[in-house]
């Protein structure tokens, strides 16, 4: 998770992130698309071309039905995939990203 505060959406513990578009964040320093606190749920988002990890879960948390492409570091770090996620040009809907 970036310590520099250049993230698209940074929700805290037990938060919901639903159906957002999160693109190209982190120009000055590397920036995640979403940097979640513990146990947050991420559903139905488009997360693209951010300069760090697309979805970054600090602990626990789950994600479903997200489209996560072309993020610089990883599509996802941590969290539990619960299906319907699409990652980085694999051409398939992957239950697990990456």
């Amino acid at each position: 998770m970036s310590a520099n505060g250049d993230t698209g959406i940074r929700p805290g513990t037990a938060s919901l992130v639903i159906e957002n578009t999160i693109v190209a964040n982190g120009d000055r320093v590397a920036g995640e698309g979403v940097a979640c606190g513990t146990g947050c749920r991420v559903h139905g988002n488009t997360v693209r071309a951010n300069t760090d990890t697309g979805l970054d879960f600090s602990l626990d948390g789950a994600y479903t039905d997200n489209n996560i492409t072309a993020n610089t570091l990883l599509p996802v770090s941590g969290g539990t995939p619960r299906g319907g996620n699409f990652c980085d040009g694999t051409g398939v809907v992957a239950a697990a990203c990456p």
Binding site: T7, G12, A14, S15, I18, D27, R28
Partner: protein
């Protein structure tokens, strides 16, 4: 209210206004709203409790509903345009489509401002103040925040532009709707717990675009080209159908690639 009744009330109000002016009393609009304009703000005061010159001081003694009837111009970065103080719950300040204008300008993505001070456009802070509503206008170029409000605030249809501190800061349980915060020197909009933000646009602000404390909801909002996080919120918050793009620094460069 019927047209006739409305007409009568306006006529009566006009008569009362004339009577009041004759006595040197508060300037009231036809519906009882207390008027704020540049002449009274910079001059002798606009109503009971307001001493001469800026800031226009609202103590609640004069009434609960206020409206601008002209733009307000504040010359220096440490002077507030409107200051509410005392024990007040539930007042409304209608900007009437007018602008509160300070001396600051900010440029860039994210914004950098020419100066900063403590002069907010509208300040209503403190434990004895709550439920302040600000709507329908623009606050630009203030040395401090555009608006700085306590708990249960409401900000609707307001543009907050190039203020040296944040565009808006609010307390617990605020409601921010149809508000834009553009090129403010610090954050765009920041609110405390259990606040609700909808159709907010935060663009090119110096730090975080939208910040909401625990238990808040952010809906249908846009954070673009801000210097820090696009949307940051604490535990138990919800961010839904928002767009967060090109936040975190020198975003303009991205369009040149």
């Amino acid at each position: 209210m019927s047209v006739i009744a409305h007409g009568r009330s306006r006529a009566l109000a006009a008569a009362w206004a004339a009577f009041g002016l004759a006595l040197g009393a508060d300037a009231r609009a036809a519906d009882g709203v207390l008027e704020i304009n540049q002449t009274c703000a910079a001059g002798a005061g606009c109503f009971t409790g307001d001493t001469p010159g800026f800031p226009v001081q609202i103590t609640g003694a004069a009434g609960r509903s206020y409206a601008l009837t002209s733009d307000l111009f504040v010359a220096d970065i440490d002077t507030r345009a409107i200051l509410a103080s005392g024990t007040i719950r539930g007042i409304t300040i209608d900007l009437g489509g007018f602008t509160i204008q300070g001396p600051v300008t900010c440029v860039g993505q994210p914004a950098s401002c020419t100066a900063n001070g403590i002069g907010s456009g509208i300040q209503a802070l403190g434990p004895t103040l709550s439920g302040v509503t600000v709507r329908n206008g623009t606050i630009r170029g203030m040395g401090g925040n555009g608006v700085a409000l306590s708990d249960d605030c409401v900000v609707q249809q307001v543009n907050l532009v190039e203020n040296a501190d944040s565009g808006a800061s609010g307390g617990i349980g605020c409601r921010i709707e149809d508000v834009s915060a553009v090129r403010n020197g610090a954050g765009g909009i920041g609110v405390t717990q259990r606040s609700f933000l909808r159709r907010v646009v935060a663009r090119a602000n110096g730090t975080v675009g939208i910040f909401a404390s625990a238990g808040s909801e952010v809906q249908e909002s846009v954070a673009v080209d801000n210097g820090g996080d696009g949307i940051a919120c604490q535990s138990g918050c919800s961010v839904q159908t928002a767009t967060s793009r090109d936040n975190g620094g020198f975003a303009r460069r991205r369009y040149c690639r």
